[in-house]
């Protein structure tokens, strides 16, 4: 075999569409992973600083400008910690859980529209995909809770299942109104449909329901029951240490960002905005949304589990169904008055 022939064959190898796709996939994955890592560092810093400011403190200010390097040090500490696996845990389940939790987080990022024509995968069923993916984390959390062989973890895991599964319903229902308005589940279509008016003004009820359920999906206060520090020590992450804990931690912040991004995409016109580039608009809006989530989180006490269930089944689900009705009536009225045909 001469070398020329060899090179051609490698070139051919890469020309193969399957391999090509795979490679692009790897590049995308690396890009998202890097993006998440940087993002989480910023979010961690932001969370600590914002929390501190709400509490009349300054927060980390010693390392780097305004303490920006603090999360880097934290991360280094986290990575350099011993990888402890307690005795009597279900090793496979216990070790797999953090990875799966992080995995589901990562998957959400694939469908987010970061800017104009800046989406990893422009799915036709983007909204459905998001709803589906974000609820898979439940299994991973239950795995962590069960596998840890700790009663606090188990209670945390069970609470997650009870909570996320029931909150999935109003979460999905609150988005139905938007899908009805746009007639599409594609994220880009939804953003384009908000050119004139943001859906938060057309669907205020849906937005309220969405935000409440989003907080629940995020396990953030007032719905942080699965990891309720003051009752369950740390809930399902009680037994995790080192990088396994780090992954869960990472996923938590990454989730916060992705949930804020979904809210921005669906209710605040996504990357649309004047003057500035589209991705910057997306970032600004999303970080403002993250700030709003933090604001809620650092103000409200934790809700009680039975009250939380009651809120879900007796308030949020009826409200979200009502929203669907109102949207339907609104669409029909709009069509009637503007004389446009049926959908």
């Amino acid at each position: 075999m001469d070398s020329n022939n060899n090179i051609t064959s490698i070139w051919d190898f890469f020309q193969n569409p399957i391999i090509m796709n795979l490679l692009i996939g790897v590049v995308y994955f690396a890009a998202i992973a890097a993006f998440i890592t940087v993002l989480v560092i910023i979010l961690m810093w932001m969370d600590r600083r914002v929390a501190a400011f709400f509490q009349e403190r300054l927060g980390p200010i010693k390392y780097g400008p305004q303490g920006l390097l603090q999360p880097v040090f934290d991360a280094v500490k986290m990575v350099s910690k011993g990888n402890i696996t307690p005795r009597n845990v279900d090793k496979l389940v216990y070790n797999l859980a953090p990875m799966l939790i992080f995995m589901t987080t990562l998957l959400v990022y694939a469908a987010l529209p970061y800017g104009k024509n800046l989406t990893v995968v422009n799915l036709n069923v983007g909204v459905l995909y998001l709803i589906a993916i974000s609820s898979t984390a439940t299994i991973a959390i239950l795995m962590g809770g069960w596998g840890s062989n700790n009663k606090y973890s188990l209670i945390g895991g069970m609470r997650t299942v009870a909570m996320i599964i029931s909150y999935e319903i109003p979460f999905a229902f609150s988005l139905l109104g938007i899908i009805m308005l746009t007639g599409s589940m594609n994220m880009t279509d939804i953003i384009n449909a908000q050119k004139n008016v943001w859906f938060v003004f057309l669907q205020p009820l849906a937005f309220v329901v969405f935000m409440i359920t989003a907080m629940a999906e995020l396990n953030k206060s007032p719905f942080d029951l699965p990891e309720a520090e003051s009752e369950l020590v740390a809930g399902f992450i009680t037994e995790y240490a080192g990088m396994k804990f780090g992954l869960v931690y990472l996923a938590e912040y990454a989730n916060m960002f992705s949930m804020a991004a979904i809210a921005v995409t669906l209710f605040f016109g996504g990357w649309q905005g004047p003057l500035l580039p589209s991705w910057l608009w997306f970032l600004i809006k999303t970080l403002l949304m993250v700030f709003f989530i933090m604001w809620i989180r650092w103000t409200l006490p934790r809700i009680r589990i039975d009250k939380m269930m009651k809120l879900n089944w007796k308030v949020l689900i009826p409200l979200s169904i009502l929203n669907i009705f109102l949207t339907g009536i609104g669409i029909k009225l709009y069509q009637y008055f503007t004389g446009m045909g049926g959908v």
Partner: protein
């Protein structure tokens, strides 16, 4: 929990099982080293058992090996969140046994410090309860204000937490000159903050949902279980030793005893806020009325009370703090029994816990406000 997959299709076999969980001694919400053995059915508590003694230092025994004045700093370690109140109770006990007449100025100084300490103690309870329901921000707001109280205490007593300001026969130091403007500033500052906390915490619907009708202690129950202090007043019994049997300078000061009626966690929380306001009133009046004169009675260097027995009780931050002192005429107490209100108050937990959710247990426990230093002694 049977994982036998063959039987899982039968609904009858999906039975539940109670399980026991050890809450504490190392747990974020047991406020020290309290251990509650909870039997849970899902999230509902079926049975609760207190396990105490992780902080047992044998204060009663220590008292028998120290002289009367040497034991004063130890009383500060009883209920370390209200150290000056414990000091006051103990020195008053010895004074009662010896028949020492404390100068009036010293009595007023004691009242000022005691009420500042009461505010600090109540603030910690409010803060930690707020933290237990995960309103971390509220917790830190409380801590910031408590810091101001501690600054005032440090200015006078030299210690922020475990002071030894009160001595048998009076107090050790007069108020420093810089205390007066500071306390005036503090008295003007705190009501606004209290109002803010009331809006932030008491007004919050989630907080109300968490606290109302949780861990109800009725008046009858409270008397039966010996629950005293703010917990008793939250249950609707107007009983405050400062008012019913005034000691020190309380008789000359005008204040009210706040009473609520439900006796649930919410009322127990609220009554502390109300008591802080009354404490502010007391401090204001005490500073205004502060008489001139000596701050220490004539007390022999080595204190040797006559042989005898005395029981003295006072209104501590958590209830009736009693000292039962037996003297044999020697320089050391023959027997000192400390009746810590927390120790008795915590005894009601097994009675009110069954039927609660896990989260309710924390709310109820936190609002009963026990201090493990006093429980275990």
């Amino acid at each position: 929990m049977s994982m036998d997959s063959d039987n899982l299709n039968l609904v009858d076999d999906l039975n539940t099982q109670e399980f026991t969980i050890n809450m504490g001694p190392y747990h974020p919400s047991t406020h020290g080293v309290f251990r509650a053995v909870l039997t849970l059915d899902g999230e509902v508590i079926v049975k609760e058992e207190n396990v105490l003694g992780y902080l047992h230092r044998g204060m009663d025994k220590i008292a028998e090996t120290r002289t009367y004045s040497q034991f004063v700093p130890y009383t500060a370690r009883l209920d370390y969140l209200a150290s000056a109140l414990n000091n006051m109770g103990y020195v008053q006990t010895v004074e009662k046994l010896m028949g020492i007449e404390v100068p009036e100025r010293a009595e007023y100084l004691r009242v000022i410090i005691a009420e500042l300490q009461r505010i600090a103690s109540h603030y910690l309870m409010l803060g930690s309860t707020t933290n237990d329901v995960n309103a971390v921000t509220g917790f830190l707001y409380y801590m910031h204000d408590r810091e101001k109280v501690l600054d005032l205490l440090e200015m006078v007593t030299g210690a922020r937490l475990t002071s030894n300001y009160m001595r048998i026969g009076g107090v050790i130091d007069d108020l420093p000159e810089e205390f007066f403007p500071k306390v005036k500033e503090f008295l003007a500052y705190l009501p606004g903050r209290l109002e803010m906390m009331e809006t932030l915490i008491l007004g919050n619907e989630i907080f109300q949902e968490r606290m109302k009708n949780v861990g109800v202690i009725t008046a009858q129950m409270a008397l039966d279980y010996g629950v005293t202090g703010p917990n008793l007043r939250a249950a609707g019994v107007r009983f405050d030793l400062r008012k019913v049997a005034p000691y020190s300078a309380y008789g000359k000061i005008d204040f009210e005893v706040p009473v609520l009626k439900n006796g649930d966690a919410f009322d127990r929380y609220q009554i502390r806020l109300m008591e802080i306001k009354q404490s502010l009133r007391i401090i204001e009046q005490a500073v205004q009325q502060l008489p001139e004169g000596p701050i220490m009675a004539k007390v022999p260097k080595l204190i040797k009370p006559p042989a005898g027995e005395v029981f003295h009780k006072m209104e501590g931050a958590r209830g009736i703090l009693g000292f039962h002192l037996v003297s044999d005429g020697g320089p050391k107490p023959y027997r000192l029994h400390i009746h810590g209100p927390s120790f008795v108050n915590i005894g009601i937990m097994p009675a009110i816990a069954p039927g609660m959710l896990l989260q309710d247990f924390l709310a109820a426990f936190a609002t009963i406000d026990v201090d493990m230093g006093e429980v275990d002694r």
